[in-house]
Symmetry: C2
Subunit: 233 residues, 2 copies
DNA sequence: AATGATTTTATGTGCACACATAATAACCTG
DNA sequence: CAGGTTATTATGTGTGCACATAAAATCATT
């Protein structure tokens, strides 16, 4: 009855995956407990634990103390996106990355921005607008507000040669960030900068990063048509 | 010199995170090895290992055998998206979910589809077109092809009352999937179905799921304007 | 000095054990 | 029998130890 013994947690994971896919353990069904599986697989309980924990992190198993482990009835696919630097993204494709600063001003932002960033409405923020290029073609338009109270060094940085996208990563620590993806119609401004027709459908990424309770920066990236964000599960 | 002792891996993780954010350990810098940290934190090496492993999985640390552990110089933010059932998504917002099947036919797909799904170009696939509603308003349009050779039961399912989105999750095992997010201009067809102006900017999710080397289904979901996919890092 | 073999070292992982914790099941007790 | 208390149980996690493995550093050889 014993399978050829599984000596590492990956092989245990593979076997459990196989049983789930083969419907030997149906969605919603309770699977044997760790101790039993360990005995069946001929390994320690901690090895089984590690494998099941990894699968639960991927959303394939639901685990609850005492209640046991069951196959997720409605697996919420957990896709992991890598939000890389735009420069890396471009270079990854074998294209040449380019960057062009359009505007750098200290200005009081619209209320929508100060509200989202939880800054006082009268406080001036650093406003950066820049274009990222891939093989000299517009790739993404960056419209960013930086909280200079949180990022003191930003005052002295021109952002002429290094993008805010990149500079902040090195100089502005943050604890967490909120990200939203959406589709937007190109505003006349965006259309001009990206050299696309008015009202083109553009992929947008909005992101606010925080250092504890203080906003660090808020950015909207609007990508040239054809952009796809890819991942896998 | 000893901090108040960290008894569990979460607190070790928190402390490491704190040091990274406080720039005590700068990006790119090598941090002490597990054994030393274990001694400093007053816990076992495996506890430190667990904490560092978790941080590495989040992209904050780079670890290599023998070379040691260093703070990621250019942290690739890893955002985890939960791709849930549309029904759950709608209900989560407190809205009432609705579903309407538009078309269910067995047809030979365009070459672009059979190529992407790696099916023979002459093979007929099940074509489903359906509308998902939120409080009776169009929410997302689903355009799906199902490989009936892989999902035999699909032949007998009408998809009148339960969406393919949901039915497949229960009946079609898959090993992995490719997902792409993009912005598209509404086609006349999509515009009519979603009741939006022609050429509206719409958020689209394309997904192909595979069972080993065989495609299970290919779907494009096009969302009504205003849709945002949110996550955090 | 270039090349290849060997040692050293930090992480990766497995194991046996212990106890913690959450949630269910079983047992009272009025 | 309702309601609360206690026991049981599966997972969660910590510890100390061992050995595996990858990669860098060192040494030996030509």
């Amino acid at each position: 009855m014993n399978s050829p013994t599984f000596r590492n947690w990956q092989s245990v994971q593979d076997e459990v995956l196989r049983r789930i896919h083969a419907r030997e353990w149906a969605p919603g069904e309770l699977i044997p407990n760790e101790a039993d599986l360990a005995q069946e697989f001929g390994c320690a309980r901690s090895t089984v634990n590690r494998a099941l924990r990894a699968l639960a992190a991927n959303g394939l198993l639901d685990r609850r103390r005492k209640a046991g482990t069951r196959v997720a009835a409605e697996p919420v696919a957990k896709a992991t996106l890598d939000i890389a630097l735009l420069r890396h993204e471009v270079e990854e494709k074998g294209a040449t990355y380019g960057y062009h600063l359009i505007e750098r001003t200290l200005a009081v932002p619209p209320v929508s921005v100060s509200a989202a960033m939880k800054t006082r409405i009268q406080d001036a923020l650093l406003h950066i607008r820049a274009l990222h290029l891939s093989d000299a073609a517009p790739y993404a338009f960056e419209d960013r507000w930086i909280n200079i109270d949180q990022v003191l060094d930003a005052r002295a940085e021109t952002f002429q040669s290094v993008s805010a996208n990149e500079w902040l990563l090195k100089h502005a620590p943050y604890t967490h960030g909120d990200i939203a993806f959406s589709a937007v119609q190109a505003t006349p401004d965006q259309a001009r900068i990206l050299a696309v027709p008015n009202n083109s459908a553009l992929f947008a990424i909005d992101r606010i990063t925080w250092d504890d309770a203080h906003s660090v920066t808020k950015v909207r990236l609007v990508f040239a048509p054809g952009y796809q964000l890819r991942t896998s599960v």
